[in-house]
């Protein structure tokens, strides 16, 4: 796993969302890793973060990365950033994502993310791209999602029974 990656030190490498029991709710990887490696990292990191006490700060050093995490209700939001990156602004990124989810789902809770995980991904992908923020306006992100959802609905206009069973 020790790959020599030329990096400038400012990148977000991955984001994980997991419950207090350690169940994964979302995983977004911005670096190429095998499934096996991802599972290993996830397992280790989840264990490490869950072992933290409430009085500890939101940052920890893990391997050669910095981990920024914050708990919102029953969900842990956990980002891995590189060494030169700014931990405090990463906390703001996490917070912005939670705000977006909250606006979209209306008082978001873990169940929303469980049952609509694909939407959670879509929202994340309108906010971050390649680990960087692509849009800093909350309104614009939500607008884009709204439009895309509309497009999706249009594509699924009510079908006749025959359509449903694939005959026309």
């Amino acid at each position: 796993m020790k790959r020599k990656r030329l990096n400038t030190g400012f990148k977000m490498q991955f984001m994980l969302l997991f419950s207090r029991q350690g169940k994964l709710r979302l995983q977004k990887w911005y670096v190429p890793l095998s499934d096996k490696e991802k599972k290993k990292i996830t397992r280790e990191l989840v264990q490490t973060v869950l072992a933290r006490k409430p009085k500890m700060c939101s940052f920890l050093e893990w391997r050669d990365l910095k981990i920024v995490y914050k708990r919102y209700a029953s969900l842990y939001f956990c980002c891995a950033i590189e060494n030169q990156d700014n931990e405090l602004i990463t906390l703001e990124i996490i917070h912005r994502y939670v705000e977006l989810l909250d606006k979209y789902f209306g008082s978001v809770c873990e169940l929303d993310i469980i049952f609509n995980f694909e939407k959670a991904y879509f929202i994340l992908d309108e906010f971050l791209l390649g680990g960087e923020a692509q849009e800093t306006s909350k309104k614009n992100v939500l607008k884009a999602i709204e439009q895309a959802d509309l497009l999706q609905e249009e594509a699924e206009t009510p079908r006749s029974v025959l359509e449903e069973i694939g005959l026309t």
Partner: protein, 836 residues
């Protein structure tokens, strides 16, 4: 006919139920009460999905892949869905594409060739007439595009970077960042498109453009100089952000677009680095941000933090730097522990360059030692050590010793080491130094590194005026607590050395205590018997008792103890006791000389783990400096007699270092090692006026030899040699020299066995001429496997200060096919590079 077949198909379809919906599946799986139950459900559903895939069912492919993605997140394999994702991406329906691209990002991996099949779809979608489809393609490429994909599609990305559609432009910018990261040579082609990026009003485009520019400047010095001209424009944009009124769209707790502010600050940092003009142009705006940003919430502090980092990295004027450090100082007082953490990290980075400025915050930093968070405590500790100097040593040490008392075990070792180092560098007086070291030993004695024992012994020996005080304090410490081994070892050693001072009540520094010889011996014997004492400690105690035979008046008790331990179960103690017994009996005339006060030891390295760990700072009594024995001329000759006794006029026996728990014993080991070498006739020593053994046995032990890493930077290239090859036993020597001490050669022996039977109880011993010193570490094992199936290795360290030609005598003993084998050999064919 056609109607018939359609009708037939309708029947078929009606019979097959539609695949269960995604949310239905999630609900069902969540009802599983055990892992096994869940697995069963999943397997059932996977089977149904698989058959659905096999039938090339377009209608439900999307639903099935979505379900597969859910199961994948639970940890189940989903690779059979990879191709299906590709089919979804190729579909015309937006829903299909949305799930297809998501699936590709989750299931596909650039390491597998199958991902390349995406390339064409992405290419088409990049020029789709719906911007949301284009967006999906850009997002996927920018998240997981492989180098090949990036090469193929860079042109499309570059085109989109020039579009007026800000929704696409911002995505294209970040996609370009990814392309550059994957294929740095493509950076040039994006240069033209960057021309007007910063004139954008749209914050999304601005933000991503700044990210793109940052990436290009970091990767290429040419780009960096090209983009330096953007500094004024960046300064203007930043100024507008700060000065502009409330903008609801980008506001975060009263601050306008903090994300963009931070990114601009970062780009300014890169542009201003090593550039006077650039740094000057941004001076004002940095000061403005530093003083005007609201600090009550994390978001403001995030900006301040980035500002501080920028100020410290560019060529800012000193006033600005002081401002930056003061911001960090204020951070340290913040209630938010995240802010405190970040401050300590930054201060640690700047403490070397801006030492005085950081010193001003010393007391706040020291307060952080009491923080509850482990990371904060650790940083505060490191920073505290960095700030210690001759002026504040007393105050700082008080705090650090208090910290050592109360901190978690994980810190104790590092803290103790740090204290020793600081004490050594800045101790205001010898007494203070000894007191400090003693304090560490009594509070954190079990955590100190092994080398602290010999280091402390050396320190004590060299502080001649403090001997009485030291031995008294150590004696009192022993009365309190005998559980901390390093303390007990140092104390035993001291009592053995200075016991006479102890009983004579000579202490000047403090009230002398009244203690009798018997009381001292009680304590030492107590150590020997105590279950708390390690083997090493017992060795110290026994030797100390022995030494007291020349310092105390009553020798009989000592003789008794020594003879009792002559039958100790512990081999190490037994050996010592037997040898000391011999000293009483056969060599009594030498005893006082051998057990004389230690000379001043030459200080070599102050820190670093040393091989002394294995020898516990014990010095061969034979290593006496004739200079420090002016009053006893005779013993010198007698010492040499002892050596010559062992046979051979020019051979000096090796100091065998056993595994760490076994310290070197005083004299007997010499007898043991070469006793039956029969190199000369009988035991009677001819009087020899040979020069005395060279000094610095301690120097050898303490000069930081131990860790093999010292030899990593050696340009060795010394050819190996076969030292011995007889009866199927082959011993090869490989060599390493140290850049740090050219007098040392490290030889590793590799013993292999070409016979069909293994050689057990294999023992390798060596002896070198008098001008050399030799140290033998423990072997990797005692069994040399048959038929060269493995080797036994052992490390020999040779000190050759006079750069004489290296010669060695080796003695090999082992058991082979039931019989004991013994052989002696001379090794003379050492390569010149090994000793020159």
């Amino acid at each position: 006919m056609r109607e018939n077949s359609s009708f037939f198909l309708v029947l078929l379809r009606l019979r097959m139920p539609a695949p269960i919906r995604l949310r239905e599946l999630i609900r069902t799986i969540r009802t599983a009460r055990t892992q096994a139950e869940e697995r069963e459900m999943i397997q059932k559903e996977c089977a149904s999905i698989r058959s659905s895939f096999r039938e090339e069912d377009n209608t439900y492919r999307c639903r099935n892949v979505a379900k597969l993605l859910y199961m994948h997140m639970l940890g189940y394999p989903a690779h059979f869905g990879q191709l299906e994702c590709l089919k979804l991406i190729a579909s015309q329906k937006f829903t299909d594409k949305r799930i297809g691209y998501l699936g590709a990002m989750l299931l596909l991996d650039e390491r597998q060739d199958v991902h390349l099949l995406m390339t064409n779809c992405i290419k088409n979608d990049l020029s789709h007439n719906t911007q949301y489809v284009q967006g999906l393609a850009l997002c996927t490429l920018g998240c997981m595009g492989s180098a090949e994909m990036c090469r193929d599609l860079a042109g499309e990305v570059e085109k989109l970077l020039k579009t007026s559609n800000s929704y696409l432009r911002k995505k294209a910018a970040l996609c370009a960042v990814h392309v550059i990261r994957k294929v740095p040579e493509l950076m040039e082609m994006f240069l033209p498109a960057t021309k007007n990026l910063l004139s954008e009003k749209n914050h999304g485009v601005l933000h991503t453009s700044v990210v793109l520019l940052t990436e290009m400047c970091e990767r290429s010095p040419d780009m960096l100089s090209h983009f330096r001209k953007l500094v004024p424009q960046l300064v203007r944009i930043l100024k507008n952000l700060i000065m502009s009124g409330y903008s609801p769209e980008h506001d975060v707790s009263g601050i306008s677009d903090p994300f963009l502010q931070v990114r601009i600050l970062r780009l300014l940092r890169i542009l201003g680095r090593n550039d006077d003009d650039g740094s000057e142009a941004m001076n004002d705006i940095l000061a403005q941000v530093a003083t005007n940003t609201e600090t009550s919430k994390n978001v403001g502090n995030a900006i301040l933090y980035e500002t501080v980092l920028t100020i410290m990295d560019i060529k800012s004027e000193s006033g600005l730097r002081v401002l930056a450090i003061n911001i960090l100082g204020r951070f340290l007082l913040n209630n938010d522990k995240n802010i405190r953490y970040v401050a300590l990290t930054s201060l640690l980075k700047t403490v070397q360059t801006d030492h005085n400025a950081v010193q001003r915050h010393r007391s706040t930093i020291v307060d952080c030692l009491k923080d509850l968070d482990v990371s904060i405590k650790r940083r505060a500790m490191e920073l505290s050590f960095a700030l210690v100097n001759g002026n504040n040593i007393r105050g700082m040490m008080k705090e650090l010793l208090y910290f050592l008392d109360s901190c978690d075990p994980e810190f104790k070792a590092d803290c103790a080491s740090g204290i020793f180092l600081a004490a050594e560098k800045y101790a205001p007086s010898k007494r203070w130094h000894i007191d400090t070291v003693m304090r560490v030993l009594t509070t954190a004695g079990s955590y100190v590194r092994d080398d602290s024992v010999p280091n402390l012994i050396q320190l004590i020996t060299n502080s001649m005026e403090m001997h009485a005080y030291t031995v008294q304090r150590l004696y009192k410490a022993l009365l309190d607590d005998v559980s901390q081994q390093p303390l007990v070892q140092v104390a035993s050693w001291c009592i053995g050395e200075y016991g006479d001072l102890l009983v004579s009540g000579q202490c000047e520094e403090e009230e002398p205590i009244q203690v009798t010889e018997d009381e001292v011996l009680d304590v030492l014997e107590g150590l020997l018997a105590s279950s708390l004492s390690s083997t090493v400690t017992r060795g110290y105690a026994l030797t100390a008792i022995m030494k007291l035979s020349t310092r105390f008046s009553g020798v009989n008790r000592i003789k008794k103890v020594v003879s009792v331990y002559g039958s100790s179960i512990d081999v190490e103690l037994q050996q010592r006791a037997v040898e000391y017994n011999a000293l009483f009996k056969k060599y009594d005339h030498m005893r006082s000389a051998l057990l004389e006060r230690m000379p001043i030891m030459e200080k070599t390295t102050a820190n670093g783990p040393t091989e002394a760990a294995q020898t516990n700072g014990e010095v061969e009594p034979s290593a006496l400096d004739s200079k420090s024995l002016p009053s006893v001329p005779q013993p010198t000759g007698q010492v040499n007699d002892l050596l010559d006794l062992l046979g051979g006029n020019d051979v000096v026996p090796v100091i065998q270092t056993a595994p760490p728990t076994k310290p070197v014993s005083a004299g007997g080991e010499l007898l043991d090692l070469l006793g039956d070498l029969s190199l000369s006739g009988g035991p009677a020593p001819p009087p020899v006026a040979a020069p005395p053994m060279s000094v610095s046995q301690p120097a050898f032990l303490l000069d930081g030899l131990s860790s093999q890493t010292l030899f990593n930077d050696v340009a060795a290239g010394i050819p190996p040699m076969t030292a011995y090859n007889k009866n199927g036993l082959i011993i090869e020597f490989t060599f390493e020299r140290s850049n740090l001490n050219p007098n040392i050669t490290v030889i590793t022996i590799h013993a292999s066995n070409s016979t069909e039977a293994e050689m057990t109880e294999f023992v390798f011993q060596a002896a070198v001429p008098k001008t050399f010193q030799l140290q033998l570490l423990s072997p990797s094992s005692n069994v040399v496997p048959a038929l060269k199936q493995g080797t036994v290795t052992q490390v020999i360290k040779v000190l050759n200060p006079q750069k004489q030609q290296l010669r060695m005598r080796v003695k090999l003993t082992y058991t082979h096919k039931g019989s004991a084998v013994q052989d002696l050999a001379e090794v003379n064919n050492f390569p010149a590079q090994a000793w020159q």
